[in-house]
Amino acid sequence: MKLVPLSYNLRSLIVRRGPTLLTVLGIAATVATVAGVLALQQGFATLYAENGRADLAVVMRPGATSEGVSSFTREGALRIAKSTPEFAVDANGAPLASLECFLAVRRYRVDGGETNVPLRGVQPATFAIRGDELRMSEGRNFVAGTDEVIVGRSITDRINNCHVGDVLTINVTPFKVVGVFECDGPFESEIWGDFDRMLSALDRFGPNRVLGKLAEGTDVQALDARLRESRETPAAVTTERDYLTAQTEVLSAILVFLGAFLGLIMGVAAVFTATNTMLSAIASRTPEIGILLSTGFRPLSIFLSFLFEAVLLGLLGGVLGALLVLPLNGIQTGTTNFQTFTEVAFGFRITAPVLLTAIGFSLALGVIGGTLPALRAARMTPTEALRRQ
């Protein structure tokens, strides 16, 4: 079967550049909107999932879905930290486990409005466990046992009193900001200080969770099962990676749903536009179709030719749309994660799946929008098409 040369389609797209441009731009706007939402979801989800470690155990009260609602007595938590053989030990034989307290505290944004910022009290062991995950980018780390805090890089410019040298009052106790740290995970949206000083400032008694480094080869499920059965202090164990992934499920699902919803509705409008453009292209090229048919091209060739043209329209729109969202990559933003009720800062991430979805989406728009007009063109008879000069 002889195919209509592709140059024919390219040329007619150029000749009809007005409608071509408008359609491509319309598809681009659609693709860019959907890709933007997906980029947001990717930025949010990967922030948690990619940076959670599989060799760290998060120990919480059974039934607690996040550390904010988990709590232990100090004695119970200490018992878990000190006498869990699955935890790795440091050079001196001390277990690599740390008590942590956590509270989303009321803070004010630089640009106005209240929000909830995670405040974490940690023991020195936390830094031994984390190694170089946290990097001080400004100032120094806090000194254990003092009223000093360090602040994550991504909130220094968003939340009041978070620069080195500022004083941050927690309940009635003033804390001094002595350093700013960077970290790839969600900790970069947090304020960290000494565990005991935090508890005292907050007028609380026990930690929220125990963080432990797992010895190599630990069966986390078995550990979880054993600790749940504990008489004195029942506890649940997950890896940090699983814990963080679970924290993103709701917001991720909302964003994916929003992306799909927008894709569907805006996609309908974009398909309609593509159909209109192709119908008009075919109407104005009816005599040409007559000539093609009379020179021996089969209806299927005609169909494929016009479908190809529509797909090309879609693809151009998809590529342009992808280019439009590319500058968003890395732009930081923030919203409240409704599972933890704390504000997280994260960036748009234009990942390969985002780009592939955008291009795939645009191709689908082209195919769906082009099918009806291409069918119409293929069904013409040569005499009828030639007559309509």
Binding site: G26, T33, N116, I265, A269, A270, G334, F341
Partner: protein
């Protein structure tokens, strides 16, 4: 007028195209309307607030409770008529996705403080007397089919049942309220503080803290002065408090949405650009097809202005019909969407300002999309237009 007839007939000249364009407009305006309603709903929580109520909460964190001992101290502040303890229970019904607001409250005081809750079934007395009695909103009745006398099991997340993990708290529906104010959440459940406290104590041995104290002001009391006096009571701990008007209290939740309203607006912008291009495209195609018609009209003695009208009216009509149907769709789907969003976005309702904005955007779109083809039609040379192909 005959020109109008020509406008109408030309819209039917390419039925499929007109249908597709109107279809795009319908979905686009539906989307715009829905997105804007999300934003107005997020921001409208504060509108339902009463000026005669104050909320006392921890100044440290949304998640920190206040001691019960604060109640008598707060009550002593002049200007306060009523006070109720409130605690967020944070449970769910059967499955995690069935979440709604549950509060442990002082029943009699709460009913006095919130005249917006009109009891339609059961009675205030029944609610106050029954120890495990619960007051639920009409929204929950619709959603879960509960009725008076039903036992409702709620699985706790924050306050485990003393009998063990995974055991539900059980409440009995003693009264049903209907909100008399538009933005008042109809999806709340309230139950007795005493039952709550005793059950928690039976488990942990400790009395639960108070999430917020709700204050009703005496008529004529100065809210700012009362707020200042309450805050001053606990200036030096143990737990600092923050007393705000009800609307300020609501605004902190609005503020938590952070950039969400901005994102939603940005998405709306994308939708608007896409639909604008679609309508402009359609009108340019229509204008090109009607070139010869315009030549004929001009030869018959119609003016350039008539040619402009012919195309501008087509554009306007397409936009108005599409937008009108889109807004209608938004209105028809309003209860469905409100139900799907549930208590996360209580009070999803398309406001009249959204309809008005939709109308303005539609007219603007119609004008803008008509400009290029109308301008071209006005300037068309009659002789050349007459020789144009169909």
């Amino acid at each position: 007028m005959d020109l109008l007839r020509l406008v109408w007939r030309n819209l039917w000249r390419r039925k499929l195209r007109t249908f597709l364009t109107v279809g795009s407009l319908v979905v686009a305006f539906f989307l715009l309307c829905t997105l804007r309603t999300l934003v107005t709903t997020i921001q409208s929580g504060a509108d339902a607030a009463s000026a005669s109520r104050l909320i006392v909460q921890s100044a440290v964190s949304l998640f920190v409770d206040l001691p019960q001992s604060y109640q008598t101290k707060i009550q002593s502040v002049p200007g306060i008529e009523g006070i109720s303890k409130w605690q967020w229970f944070g449970g769910y019904y059967q499955e995690e996705r069935n979440r709604f607001a549950q509060f442990a409250v002082d029943p009699a005081e709460t009913l006095e403080i919130y005249p917006e809750m009109q009891i339609t079934e059961g009675s205030a007395e029944a609610f106050e007397k029954q120890r495990r009695g619960a007051l639920i909103g009409t929204g929950l009745v619709e959603k879960y089919g509960w009725k008076l006398g039903d036992t409702v099991p709620i699985l706790p997340e924050l306050f485990p049942h003393p009998d063990g993990p995974g055991i539900a708290w059980e409440f009995e529906v003693a009264a049903i309220y209907e909100p008399t104010a538009r933005n008042f959440d109809p999806n709340m459940m309230m139950f007795h503080w005493d039952y709550f406290e005793d059950t928690v104590k039976a488990g942990s041995g400790e009395a639960p803290g108070v999430g917020t104290y709700i204050l009703a002001l005496e008529p004529g009391a100065d809210p700012t002065a009362v707020m200042g006096r309450v805050d001053a009571l606990f200036e030096n701990g143990p737990q600092r408090v923050q007393t705000t008007s009800e609307s300020e209290f609501q605004k902190q939740f609005v503020s938590m949405f952070g950039n969400v309203p901005f994102f939603v607006s940005a998405i709306g912008g994308g939708v608007l650009i896409a639909i604008l291009l679609a309508v402009v495209n359609t009108m340019l195609m229509a204008g090109r097809e009607q070139t010869r018609d315009i030549g004929i009209l001009k030869a018959l003695g119609f003016t350039d202005g008539d040619a402009v009208k012919l195309l501008a009216l087509q554009s306007m009509l397409i936009c108005l019909v599409g937008a009108g149907l889109g807004l209608l769709l938004a209105q028809v789907t309003e209860p469905g969407i409100a139900g799907a969003l549930g208590s996360m976005f209580p009070g999803y309702a398309v406001t009249s300002s959204t309809y008005a904005l939709g109308a303005v955007v539609a007219v603007g779109l119609g004008l803008f999309a008509g400009i290029a083809p109308a301008w071209r039609a006005a300037r068309l040379d009659t002789v050349q237009a007459l020789s144009a192909k169909d």
